[in-house]
């Protein structure tokens, strides 16, 4: 291994983080965009390199400042983090490549350098959460990414974005502070912050009340940040009023990275050590997942605003992810992780298509997009194909993870058939809400202004790349399934 290759885990954070202040110095908005995109592409290349290394060598560790693990901060990338690094960096690079025109339309010229800097900080924070193996480090990166995402969301053109961001800030901070309380109590009892070290030492004090309280605080706090139903109140408005390109980025990554910490803590640290933790975890998460899937899908069926419709669908999809995890089986966790990857693909493609629509329509309610398919055939075709992946039609990425999920649910015992019924019903609901958009766009009549024509080429290109990836990973799913299976084995304690 060459010298700089050993530093890949830390470069994953440093590249976007150090580019951010440089961007502010550049001033010119095109130059800023180019530099941001370049940094994000570099970051994606690092993620791919790390992923290749993880496949061959299982885990890539890194000691910050050469201080060994329990004393110094350790970074560690395994299959679980590699899977999400691909999602986060892939989404950021894809959106930035295509979305200059969309961002230029939404954001004032003089604010753009600051906006791009905040975007890179959000990326650095998300990457940091994924590479670090230290509980307090996770908190710091969580707040870096959260503060930066409040800023990029608040760049939205509508004034209603401001109350939405304020709500997001309050709930995000409460979630992160809950996590901080939990970590504090764990530190109080074990005297360590390194995740692997906590896992070793927590066993001796596992039956004591502070540890159980800590497990509660960490789980609830992260469920709040991950928008697990019914703690999703901040999500629909934040997604709806954010700039279109920001919605793509956040919808693909932000909640999934919080779910990453939630699963990492519950499976890696608590499950093997706390008595009955798996049962409590399942009883907590399973009903919420089912309610989330059904309620959010129902709301999406009646929602008049296009972006909010897709945001509610995201809440339902988070339900699928937590449903898989709450089965506490290898098959269930695999399905859950796979759905994180595949849902990010489908939702990114859908929101990119929405960003295309946003280029020629000012308002994006269903009544405003009537007949838009005539002026924007390529955009709407992409929306339909990505919608198929969201529904889970065979041949798309969405089908692969739903197949895994249904298989895992059927193995889970007596309740299996009822859970399958919920999944099938909610997939039918997805057909309904995607169809409402399709119906309006292909067969409706516009009451307001007509679209001026097809979206700019780079944005359309990014949208079609995302759609193509949905079909590629639907037919050739070995990379995400391989990573998800290894990650599930690690989380369930069958691999170190």
């Amino acid at each position: 291994m060459s010298a700089w290759q050993a530093h890949l885990p830390v470069l994953q954070v440093i590249v976007p983080m150090l580019t951010a202040p440089l961007i502010i110095l550049l001033r010119d908005r095109r130059l800023c965009w180019a530099a941001t995109t370049l940094a994000s592409l570099c970051s994606l290349a690092i993620a791919v390199a790390l992923c290749i290394e993880v496949v061959s060598s299982h885990r890539v560790g890194y000691e910050m400042g050469s201080w060994p693990a329990p004393w110094g901060i350790e970074l560690g990338v395994d299959a679980f983090s590699a899977l999400l690094l691909l999602v986060v960096n892939g989404a950021s690079a894809l959106v930035l490549t295509g979305a200059f025109s969309s961002l230029d339309r939404d954001i004032d010229n003089e604010r753009q350098p600051l906006f791009y800097a905040a975007w890179l900080l959000a990326l650095a924070g998300l990457n940091g959460i994924l590479v670090t193996a230290d509980a307090f480090n996770i908190f710091v990166f969580m707040e870096i990414s959260a503060l930066a995402s409040y800023i990029i969301v608040s760049a939205g053109p509508d004034r209603r974005v401001l109350p939405a961001v304020f709500k997001y800030l309050i709930m995000g901070t409460v979630g992160a502070t809950f996590y901080l309380i939990g970590v504090g109590l764990i530190y109080l009892m074990t005297g360590t912050l390194n995740l692997a070290d906590i896992e070793l030492r927590i066993y001796e004090v596992a039956d004591q009340r502070p540890i159980m309280v800590a497990a509660g605080f960490i789980t609830i706090g992260l469920a709040l940040k991950a928008a697990v139903f019914p703690l999703h109140q901040w999500l629909p408005n934040a997604y709806t009023f954010a700039p279109n390109a920001v919605t793509v980025f956040l919808a693909a990554c932000a909640t999934k990275v919080s779910l990453y910490i939630l699963l990492r803590f519950n499976f890696y640290v608590f499950q093997p050590n706390l008595a009955d933790h798996d049962i409590q975890f399942a009883y907590f998460l399973l009903p919420l997942s089912l309610l989330g899937i059904l309620v959010a899908s129902t709301v999406a069926m009646f929602e008049p605003s296009l972006k909010r419709l897709l945001a509610w669908s995201s809440v339902a999809q988070i339900g699928y992810i937590t449903l898989g995890a709450s089965l506490i089986s290898i098959a269930g966790v695999t399905a859950s992780l796979l759905h994180m990857f595949n849902h990010a693909l489908a939702k990114a493609a859908l929101f990119l298509a929405v960003a295309c629509l946003g280029m020629s329509l000012r308002r994006l309610r269903l009544e405003d997009i009537g007949g838009v398919a005539k002026q924007m055939p390529w955009t709407m075709a992409a929306f339909v194909l990505a919608g198929l992946s969201l529904i889970g039609v065979p041949g798309t990425a969405g089908f692969v993870s739903k197949w895994y999920l249904i298989t895992a649910v059927l193995e889970s015992g007596a309740w299996g058939a009822a859970l399958v019924a919920v999944i099938v019903v909610s997939s039918l609901m997805a057909v309904v809400y995607i169809w409402r958009v399709v119906e309006a766009a292909y067969f409706g009549n516009s009451e307001g202004e007509a679209a001026i024509g097809e979206a700019p080429l780079p944005l359309l290109f990014a949208t079609w790349v995302a759609v193509a990836l949905n079909f590629y990973f639907g037919l050739e799913a070995s990379l995400p399934t391989g990573l998800a299976e290894t990650a599930a084995l690690i989380l369930m304690g069958h691999l170190p």
């Binding site: 710091v140 004034r159 401001l162 304020f166 309050i170 409460v174 901080l180 530190y187």
Partner: protein
């Protein structure tokens, strides 16, 4: 009863935490909400700092001049230094958003803003 008094700093932590949390949820004025959020975070700082104190321990400075066996744990204070920075950034950003809300809506009362949005 004795154990409760011995651990009074946890009581202080819990009371401040819940006071802040109550303000975040119940107050309609956005600035008051943010004050509540700051209190909420400050309580957690107290939790960390009080746990690092070792009874009879001194500041963790190595020296040949004084003969000390027992030191307090400095790590929680270092952690909280970071968390304080995070807390200040959050408050600053929150206040910034409130200023923009005031400019856009002319009000910082949550129910009035909702009323304006409904129109």
């Amino acid at each position: 009863m004795m154990t409760i008094l011995e651990h009074y700093h946890y009581l202080v932590f819990a009371v401040i935490l819940m006071t802040g949390f109550y303000a975040v949820m119940a107050k309609l004025n956005l600035v008051k909400k943010l004050i509540g959020l700051s209190l909420f975070q400050a309580a957690v700082f107290l939790l960390y700092i009080s746990m690092g104190k070792v009874e009879g321990g001194t500041a963790p400075i190595f020296s040949d001049l004084i003969d000390v066996e027992l030191y307090s744990n400095p790590l929680p204070q270092v952690l909280i230094l970071t968390a304080i920075v995070v807390g200040i950034s959050t408050t600053a950003l929150g206040l910034g958003i409130i200023v923009r809300i005031k400019e856009a809506y002319g009000s910082i009362e949550e129910h009035e803003i909702q009323e304006l949005d409904r129109k």
